[in-house]
Subunit: 203 residues, 2 copies
DNA sequence: GTTTTCATGTAACCCGTTACATGATTCA
DNA sequence: TGAATCATGTAACGGGTTACATGAAAAC
């Protein structure tokens, strides 16, 4: 039924890659650890989990039944449902992570990708950072030409808004440049820290 | 049928306040003059115009019939439809402009408000700017506490993401401070420029 | 023993997009 | 005359939210 793609799926896969969790806890982490982002609601989270299970990205596990495992073994037993990432789910996450095309949810997509950098190889990190940078530069170019075409017939406020907008984007590009530089430096020195793929037990 | 609120309605009212227009041109201006923003599609624009007419915010005017006004007077004559802002529409726009509550579409709503500053009184401008600032400061506070609670169990990348996010918000606050300062200076000097309410023919 | 928090879900809605369809006007 | 662009619209979908409903466990 539900098609589901969107950044919620992405964030869920990423969080579950770290460790299995049940829905309620997942939602909390979506708003704290991944805190910069929007607060997702249960109304979207639980249906999303369902469809991810249907697709085979996630598996349900019977949550730790609290104390009385012999009391009501098959009644309306709807205890915590712990979700675990399957091997296919891991592949799917990898795939989403390394996507750098323009259909990448622009800003929020980058935020999620960056938040999961700790679990990524440097190759992927470089691609994500450079992809983001080039898309921001495209955006800058568009803004500049649009501004050049319309500068005369805009009032001071609109002009100031556009100036500030462009400056923000330029700042982010500089930030990305620093990050890319430090990633590259890390590679050249190949320091002992940050192994390329920690706990990769799928291959 | 359609309920419609959202920032599209807002932007449309604002653009039509400057001068009447037909849908096609409106859409172009939504992506250039108001250029910083997202590109709205016809699929949302035309239905929006319809419901705005139904509510009485807009009035349809028969567009300038090109050349042959005697050729086919009542056939499938579907020429340009020029939309004009009614007095009620103007009130509605005023109302939306000066709303500073937290239910204000956060970022995009501010962008639209700012883009229409040229048509606003300094009072409204001050309220919008200060409202935006206080909401950003709330956001900053939340980010700081969230960071304080989780700092230890976050990896370097997540930390860097949050640091950069907070810095961006702080920069915008400083920008707002400058704008507010210059608005205040303008008032104290009450210079001849920027009359408080240009062409206010509704009251 | 009652309130809070944990935990899971559903139905209705919202605001927008994509893809499609139609036709008039302008320009090469 | 045929292609581009102007101009208006509709149907189906998309990815979320809000509000609601339910119930168990923990805290007071």
């Amino acid at each position: 039924m539900g098609r589901r793609s969107g950044i919620l799926e992405f964030a869920v896969l990423g969080l579950l890659r770290e460790s299995p969790m049940h829905g309620y806890e997942l939602r909390k982490r979506l708003n704290t650890s991944l805190g910069v982002f929007r607060a997702f609601s249960y109304g979207s989270l639980y249906p999303c989990l369902k469809t991810l299970v249907q697709r085979g990205w996630l598996a349900e596990e019977p949550g730790d039944e609290p104390e009385d495992s012999l009391a009501a073994p098959l009644a309306g037993r709807r205890a915590k449902i712990v979700y675990r990432l399957t091997a296919e789910g891991k592949e799917r996450f990898e795939e989403l992570l390394s996507q750098t095309g323009p259909d990448t949810w622009e800003d929020e997509g980058f935020g999620v990708r960056f938040a999961f950098f700790g679990q990524t190889s440097r190759d992927v990190r470089m691609r994500v950072l450079e992809g983001r940078r080039s898309r921001l530069e495209e955006r800058l170019a568009k803004m500049r030409t649009a501004l050049a075409r319309t500068r005369e017939r805009l009032d001071d406020y609109t002009l100031e808004l556009q100036r500030h907008g462009m400056e923000s984007v330029e700042r982010e590009v500089r930030w990305l440049n620093e990050l890319i530089e430090s990633e590259r430096a890390g590679r050249d020195q190949h320091r002992g820290q940050t192994p390329p793929d920690p706990s990769d037990d799928t291959a």
